[in-house]
C-alpha cells in the first residue's frame, strides 16, 4: 500500500483554493452588501407586514441584505434611537425621522436632492409641510415618506352634529361622486357654535389642551387660520400682534366648551372620547375610527371625516410627516438610496396605504387619489376627506411653521400654542398668557 503524503506545495494550493471559495460563491441576497433601516413601528400592525413584504421584494431584486427594524414612537423610543445613533455615529443606514428630526440632525445626514429630483420629476409637487420639514438651507436632507405620515382633520359624529349643531357633515364634505360640498360656511365661528351646541348636549368636542402633538397640532392650525404667528420666518418673536390677540379672544370662548379635563388629555384621550361615545368631534387621523370599528361598530358607522374650519387666512389642516434620511456615516449609501426610491414608488405607497386603511398620507399631491379613501367604510367614504382634496381649498400645516425649525421644534414639543389655551382655560387673562408665551419663546431664540 503506497503511502501518499501531502507536500507543502499541495497544502498551499489547497489552502488558497479553499480561501478563494467564498469569493466566487453563488450570489445570494446579500451579494450587493448589507443595509439596515429603522422604520417607524406602525400603529396599524398590517402596516409593518406590508413594509416587510416590500423590503423582501427589494432585497431579492437588488441582492441587498436588508435588515428592517420597526422602532416604536411610544415613549419616544424612536427619538432616543436617533439621538443615540447621531452621537455614536453608527447604527442604521437609514432612519425614519419624525417631523422635526431632520432639521435636528441635518449635519449628520446625506443630502438627497438627487432622489427628490427624480421623485418630483415622476410624481410632481410635494406637500408644503413635507417640504418645510425635509429641506434644510435649500437642500433636501431626507425623503418624505408616507409611512406614518398623517393629517389630523376633524372626525365628526354624523348624528350628533346633525341633532345638536344642525350640521349635515356628509353634505358639507361628500364622498367620491357626491358633487360639490357645502363647505363654505364651515368656518371657525361655525366650529365654535357647533362646539357650544354639542357641549350643551353633553357631547363636547374632544379637543385636548395638553402638551401633546394632537393638542399642539390643533392649536397650531387655529393660529395659522387667523394668520397668527408666534415666531415669524425670520425668527422674530411676534406674540404681541393683533392676529395673536384675535386667536386668544376666540380661544377664550372655545376653551369654555371643551371637556373639563381637556388640559390633561394625552394623544389617546381624544380617541377614547370618540370611541366611548362621549364626544361629537375630535381631530385625529382615522386610527380612532379604525379602533371604533373594532370595539364599537355602531359608533364607527356614525363617523365622518371632514376638513378643518376656515379662518380669515385660510383652511389649515394639521399635518405631520415622517421622512427617510440616510446617515452620513452609512457605509452603503447607494443601496440606501435605491431602497428609498423603491419604497417611494406609487404602487408601493398605494399598497401600504391600503393595508393601513388609508392612515398613511403620501407626500406627493399626485398620490392623493388612492381608491382606498373612497372604498373604506362603514360608512363607505368615511375617510374620503382625510387627505386634502383640491375642492377643500385647504393647506397642510405644521404647527409653529413658518418659524425657523430650530426654534419651532422647541416651541412645538413644549406645546406653546396649546399651553396658551390651557392657561386661558385655567382663568388667566389674555395679557398674562401672551406675556408668558413671549417669555418662553425668548428662551428658544438663542
Amino acid at each position: 500500500m503506497s503511502k501518499k503524503t501531502l507536500s507543502r506545495r499541495s497544502a498551499l494550493i489547497l489552502g488558497s483554493t479553499a480561501a478563494a471559495l467564498p469569493l466566487v460563491h453563488i450570489r445570494t441576497a446579500g451579494a450587493a452588501g448589507k443595509l439596515s433601516i429603522g422604520f417607524w413601528d406602525h400603529w396599524v400592525p398590517a402596516g409593518n407586514d406590508a413594509m416587510k413584504k416590500q423590503i423582501a421584494a427589494f432585497s431579492e431584486k437588488h441582492k441587498v441584505d436588508v435588515q428592517a427594524d420597526f422602532i416604536t414612537s411610544v415613549g419616544s423610543k424612536n427619538l432616543l434611537t436617533i439621538a443615540a445613533e447621531a452621537q455614536a455615529k453608527t447604527g442604521h443606514d437609514v432612519q425614519s425621522f419624525p417631523s422635526w428630526e431632520v432639521h435636528n440632525n441635518a449635519d449628520n445626514l446625506e443630502p438627497v436632492d438627487d432622489l427628490m429630483k427624480a421623485l418630483m420629476g415622476k410624481y410632481g409637487e410635494v406637500s408644503s409641510s413635507a417640504t418645510y420639514l425635509g429641506r434644510v438651507k435649500g437642500r433636501w436632507m431626507a425623503v418624505p415618506s408616507s409611512s406614518g405620515s398623517q393629517n389630523k382633520p376633524p372626525c365628526a359624529r354624523i348624528s350628533m352634529m346633525k341633532d345638536m349643531a344642525g350640521l349635515d357633515v356628509k353634505a358639507m364634505y361628500p364622498s367620491a361622486g357626491g358633487g360639490p360640498g357645502k363647505q363654505d360656511d364651515w368656518t371657525w365661528d361655525a366650529f365654535l357654535k357647533a362646539a357650544e351646541a354639542c357641549q350643551k348636549g353633553g357631547k363636547p368636542f374632544g379637543i385636548g389642551l395638553g402638551q401633546t402633538t394632537d393638542s399642539e397640532d390643533f392649536a397650531g392650525a387655529l393660529f395659522a387660520a387667523y394668520g397668527a404667528e408666534l415666531v415669524n420666518a425670520k425668527g422674530d418673536i411676534t406674540v404681541k400682534t393683533e392676529p395673536v390677540r384675535q386667536v386668544m379672544e376666540y380661544a377664550q370662548k372655545l376653551v369654555k366648551v371643551l371637556p373639563p379635563d381637556a388640559v390633561s388629555y394625552d394623544d389617546a384621550s381624544n380617541n377614547r372620547a370618540l370611541i366611548s361615545g362621549q364626544s361629537a368631534l375630535i381631530c385625529n387621523p382615522p386610527s380612532a375610527w379604525a379602533v371604533a370599528l373594532r370595539d364599537n361598530k355602531t359608533i364607527a358607522e356614525d363617523c365622518w371625516t371632514i376638513s378643518m374650519p376656515k379662518g380669515p387666512k385660510g383652511r389649515m389642516v394639521p399635518s405631520l410627516f415622517y421622512l427617510w434620511g440616510i446617515w452620513k456615516f452609512s457605509p452603503n449609501k447607494s443601496a440606501a438610496k435605491e431602497l428609498i426610491m423603491f419604497l417611494s414608488e406609487r404602487e408601493n405607497v398605494e399598497e401600504r396605504c391600503a393595508k393601513v386603511l388609508g392612515y398613511d398620507i403620501p407626500p406627493f399631491d399626485s398620490m392623493l387619489d388612492f381608491k382606498i379613501w373612497e372604498d373604506v367604510g362603514p360608512p363607505k367614504g368615511t375617510v374620503y376627506n382625510y387627505p386634502i382634496r383640491k375642492e377643500h381649498g385647504a393647506i397642510p400645516w405644521v404647527a409653529m411653521s413658518p418659524a425657523p425649525p430650530e426654534i419651532a421644534v422647541q416651541a412645538y414639543n413644549q406645546g406653546i400654542h396649546s399651553t396658551m389655551f390651557a392657561k386661558l382655560k385655567s382663568g388667566q387673562t389674555i395679557d398674562q398668557t401672551m406675556a408668558w408665551a413671549q417669555n418662553e419663546l425668548e428662551g428658544f431664540v438663542r
Partner: protein, 316 residues
C-alpha cells in the same frame, strides 16, 4: 481583619519558601490586595463604562452650544437661571422630592414599628404584602395609577359619582396633579423605608429596652432615647438615598402628566428629556439633568460624614 482575633498569614513568605520558581510577579499576583482588585475589576470596568464615563460625558455635553460645535462653559446653566419655566421645575422638583421623602420616611417608620410588633408568621405575611408596591415595575404601577386618575374615566371619579360628587380632573389642575405625583411616589417608595427601618429595629438590642423599662421610661421616651439614636445612621442613609432617587424620578411624571398641565409637574428628568431629546438640545438637557448634582453632592457629603462620626463614636 482588624478585630484582634485573626491570625496574620504571611502568604508571600511561605510561598517563597516553597521553591525558587516564585518570581516577583507571581508574588504580586498572590497578594491579597491584588486578588481583591482583580476580583473587583469586572465591576470597576462596568461602573467606569456605565457610570463614570457617561457622567463626565454629560458634564462635557452640558458645556457645548446647541449644535454641539462650540464650548460655551457654563452658558447653558446661566441661561437656565433666567427661564421662568426652569424656576418652576426647580420648585416642583424640590417640592416633589422633599415632601415625598418626608412622607415615605414617616410612613415607613410607623409601619416598621407596627410590623415589628406583629408576632411570627403573620409578620412575614404582612411584610410580603407591604413590599408588593416596591416589587411591581414602576412603569406598570404608574399605568395602574393612570387608569385610576384617567382624565375621562377615572375609577376614583366613578366612586365619587356613586355619592353624587362631581368628577375631579385629578391630573388636569396644577396642584391636584402635583399631589397625585407625590401620592404615587409615596405609594411606591414607602416599602423601601419600611424594610430598612424594620431591619434597623430588629438590630436594636432588647436589653436596652429592658434597661429603659427598669428605669421607668415611657414608650415615647424609649422611642426618643433608645430607638431613634440607634436608628439614626439607617435613617440618614435611607433618606439620602431616597432623596437622590426621588430627585431623579422620571417614570411617574412622564407617564401620568408628561409635565403638564402648564409645565406644573415637570421635574428635572422629564424637563431634561423634553429639552434634550424631544427638542433636540442635548447640551441644555444635560445641563438640566446635572443641575442637582452639586447640591445633592454636598448633602451626601454631610450626611455620610455624620454617619462616619457616629460609627466612630459607637466604636470608641
Amino acid at each position: 481583619m482588624a478585630d484582634g482575633t485573626s491570625t496574620t498569614i504571611d502568604l508571600p513568605r511561605r510561598v517563597r519558601a516553597a521553591g525558587p520558581k516564585n518570581s516577583g510577579f507571581s508574588r504580586f499576583l498572590q497578594r491579597r490586595s491584588t486578588i481583591a482588585v482583580l476580583l473587583c475589576s469586572p465591576l470597576i470596568v462596568l461602573v467606569g463604562a456605565l457610570v463614570i464615563y457617561p457622567a463626565f460625558y454629560a458634564i462635557y455635553l452640558s458645556m457645548l452650544n446647541k449644535k454641539m460645535t462650540q464650548f460655551i462653559g457654563f452658558g447653558n446653566f446661566t441661561f437656565l437661571f433666567k427661564r421662568d419655566t426652569f424656576k418652576l421645575v426647580i420648585f416642583q422638583s424640590t417640592l416633589f422630592a422633599v415632601s415625598a421623602v418626608l412622607l415615605k420616611a414617616l410612613l415607613g417608620f410607623v409601619l416598621a414599628h407596627l410590623m415589628h410588633n406583629i408576632p411570627g408568621r403573620a409578620q412575614r405575611i404582612w411584610r410580603g404584602l407591604l413590599l408588593v408596591p416596591w416589587v411591581i415595575p414602576l412603569a406598570l404601577s404608574c399605568l395602574g395609577w393612570w387608569w385610576l386618575f384617567d382624565p375621562s374615566y377615572s375609577a376614583f371619579n366613578w366612586i365619587l359619582g356613586q355619592f353624587g360628587i362631581d368628577p375631579v380632573p385629578w391630573l388636569g389642575r396644577g396642584w391636584s396633579a402635583r399631589i397625585c405625583m407625590i401620592v404615587v411616589n409615596v405609594w411606591f417608595g414607602t416599602p423601601f423605608f419600611l424594610i430598612m427601618y424594620l431591619a434597623a429595629l430588629k438590630s436594636v438590642p432588647e436589653q436596652l429596652y429592658e434597661a429603659a423599662s427598669i428605669d421607668g421610661a415611657s414608650a415615647m421616651q424609649k422611642l426618643r432615647y433608645v430607638t431613634l439614636p440607634m436608628m439614626r445612621n439607617i435613617i440618614s442613609i435611607t433618606v439620602l438615598f431616597s432623596l437622590i432617587v426621588t430627585f431623579a424620578d422620571f417614570d411617574i411624571v412622564r407617564l401620568l402628566t408628561a409635565g403638564g398641565p402648564e409645565n406644573m409637574t415637570h421635574v428635572f428628568a422629564t424637563y431634561a428629556f423634553v429639552s434634550g431629546i424631544q427638542s433636540g438640545d442635548i447640551p441644555l438637557g444635560s445641563a438640566i439633568s446635572l443641575f442637582m448634582v452639586p447640591i445633592l453632592g454636598v448633602a451626601a457629603f454631610f450626611v455620610l460624614r455624620g454617619v462616619t462620626q457616629r460609627t466612630k463614636e459607637i466604636g470608641a
